[in-house]
Assembly symmetry: C2
Homo-oligomer: 429 residues x 2
Amino acid sequence: MADHLIHEMSASVAAAQIRSGSLSCEALMQACLARVVEREPQVGAWQFIDPKRALALAREADLRQPVGPLHGVPIGVKDIIDTADMPTSLGSLIYAKRQPDWDAACVAALRAAGAIVVGKTVSTEFAYFQPGKTRNPHQLLHTPGGSSSGSAAAVADCMVPVALGTQTAASVTRPAAFCGIYGYKASHGEFSLSGIRPFAESLDSLGLLARSVDDISLFRSVLLGRQHPDRQPASGPPRLALCRTSQWALVSPSMQQAVEALVQRCRQAGAVVSELVLPVQFDGLIESQKIIMAYEAARNYVFETTCHPGQLSEAFTVLTDIGRNLGQQDYRQAKDALRLAKRLLYSLVSEVDAWIAPAAIGEAPLATAGTGDPLMSRMWTALKGPSLCMPVSTGEQGLPLGAQLLALPGDDDRLLQVGQWIERMLETP
Amino acid sequence: MADHLIHEMSASVAAAQIRSGSLSCEALMQACLARVVEREPQVGAWQFIDPKRALALAREADLRQPVGPLHGVPIGVKDIIDTADMPTSLGSLIYAKRQPDWDAACVAALRAAGAIVVGKTVSTEFAYFQPGKTRNPHQLLHTPGGSSSGSAAAVADCMVPVALGTQTAASVTRPAAFCGIYGYKASHGEFSLSGIRPFAESLDSLGLLARSVDDISLFRSVLLGRQHPDRQPASGPPRLALCRTSQWALVSPSMQQAVEALVQRCRQAGAVVSELVLPVQFDGLIESQKIIMAYEAARNYVFETTCHPGQLSEAFTVLTDIGRNLGQQDYRQAKDALRLAKRLLYSLVSEVDAWIAPAAIGEAPLATAGTGDPLMSRMWTALKGPSLCMPVSTGEQGLPLGAQLLALPGDDDRLLQVGQWIERMLETP
């Protein structure tokens, strides 16, 4: 493989080559850092980056036996996730120089498996709406999406093969869709969030941005402390469903076509695809997600809203004001509605392995318009199941379109298995 | 009221006197600090204390209109809860000098309501078993219980009227019982835990240590951001149940008597008290709690176990080793068992307002034997409902005995209402 393609390698392939001795950690890191040097001035994916240190760590890694399945793999870490050796600003002016005393548990687990943190990727303010400097690598006038903006852009632009993200509404799925990569949001509670400032704890989940489903499975197995990377058993065509959701009319024509074309291809490849129509009990769930998010954010950010109100964005201030004015009754009703719908969902999808929905309402809007609408993920995130955003097409403006694959809470392994089946199908001409 | 009794005042009474002008914030703080000076060398409740600063803040408060319902009230904060102006060691050697960049949300909320943080109270290592220096103020050779050791001792010894604690197994209930005070563990998810390092997020809850139920209700209303402190409506005798649990045979004779005597008094005061017998589905729940605690602790403390193993206690290392060796299947089964039992519990207690159980297996053991057994709270904590430990008697060694009042998740208001009814009944000769 020519030198100029090393930075495009997946983590799984690179790690295997490092293990076999056909690739050095240094060469891999050099290639990624060269890409950063070339592209960062335009893309702005990094809040903090220490190329010298990353290179030194890669060289050290070459002198050692592999410590784990990610030996020498460069990664990006969203800047709301604590790192003991790099500042963690949470995308906030208040914490511009904050240096945590520990690695978040997810970072520690990846490092223990040999991964090398290249730097911290740009997050919107506290992983909410106020955007950072990052641009969509496909078209620099457009947003990469948010809040895991830098993680999605860095992975899409081949600066690192994998980056960590988090999602409370659509913060992994939307940037993955806008940047044309895979984005896995884990089931709620699937991984440790220790060392990640909570935004809304009933909704927050860890996520992975990557360019292949294999990489996501590899990182997932490390985060779960599994002794061996999951071997996806060869599986036949999955049982799928298409869920247009009641927001279908708000979805762009090209996104509608992309999702329906994906369904067609799945059918042609042998999958049975039924239709998932959500009953009326699901109608208010987007509102429920908004209520829970505002209520919990308001109570989680009392220090900032009380002691540093002048350093908060208007969007964040508005959200916490709304949350503070909600009563505990509103909050409980929202949680009850979700609990009820979740129970219903189990019976609705008992005959399918996963279901498909649009990952966003359309292509990435202009960066001047913010980070895009989280509409298509709010309900799914609140229902606590895993999701996998998959790049499936491009839209009218030539920007990526993503579909999301969804499953019941805890069905993450099956979701990724189905995701891999679809990935291979899409790669087949 | 004579000067030497000011430090014995409840927060509610002191706050009311401050509002009416009959007590100054300075006099209240002086009295509490004098008590600290007198007793701290023996009791060892504080990990960090800054009397000068506390006094300066009290004097400032006297120059201002009351900012909220806790204006001028001194509080203690468990040392696993972040404070922007005081170190937060988490009871760990690794973090002996750690200075957080923020106040935990609960601290920020109490400060915004006027409370003055006197200092940080001793916690066991990461709120697990390795004890700190604190002794039981009733008998100094005995443990105050853990992990909220310093919070319980400081409140029991009248150094502060109220202190914050947390509970994952029995860390509020047990020290409250051993120290003879009220200890309220909130329903899981009731309050923000932002700024508190998670131990096991499916179990962790915030708690309050106090000398009266009124104080607990007052602090609860502030933490919930309620505009007005809850006025407990005058309520008639509650419908109660006695739950001996399948651990009854392990409970000391004096504790058995204390709990049954409480039930008798409730009956005499007009309460209907039935018996709550837990069906066989509850038998393994203590084991389930242990599995969840170990599994989540292991994944939450990867940084410490990987990078600082030499600075961890043996107890903590053993727990995280156990947790690392558990599979995701064990963890899910434990969660499923709890979910099933919780559903069952709703039907079992549909006719009662709250139920009564022992708060610990007996009196506080000698400090040389550790912080005591969390046995009597593990299951209830895992079932996610609130609990209120109430001092009801003393045992063979003259140390306090506590009963706990329990309710369904979310029934915190009703629990405290019943607790207040029992408190008043016990105060009636």
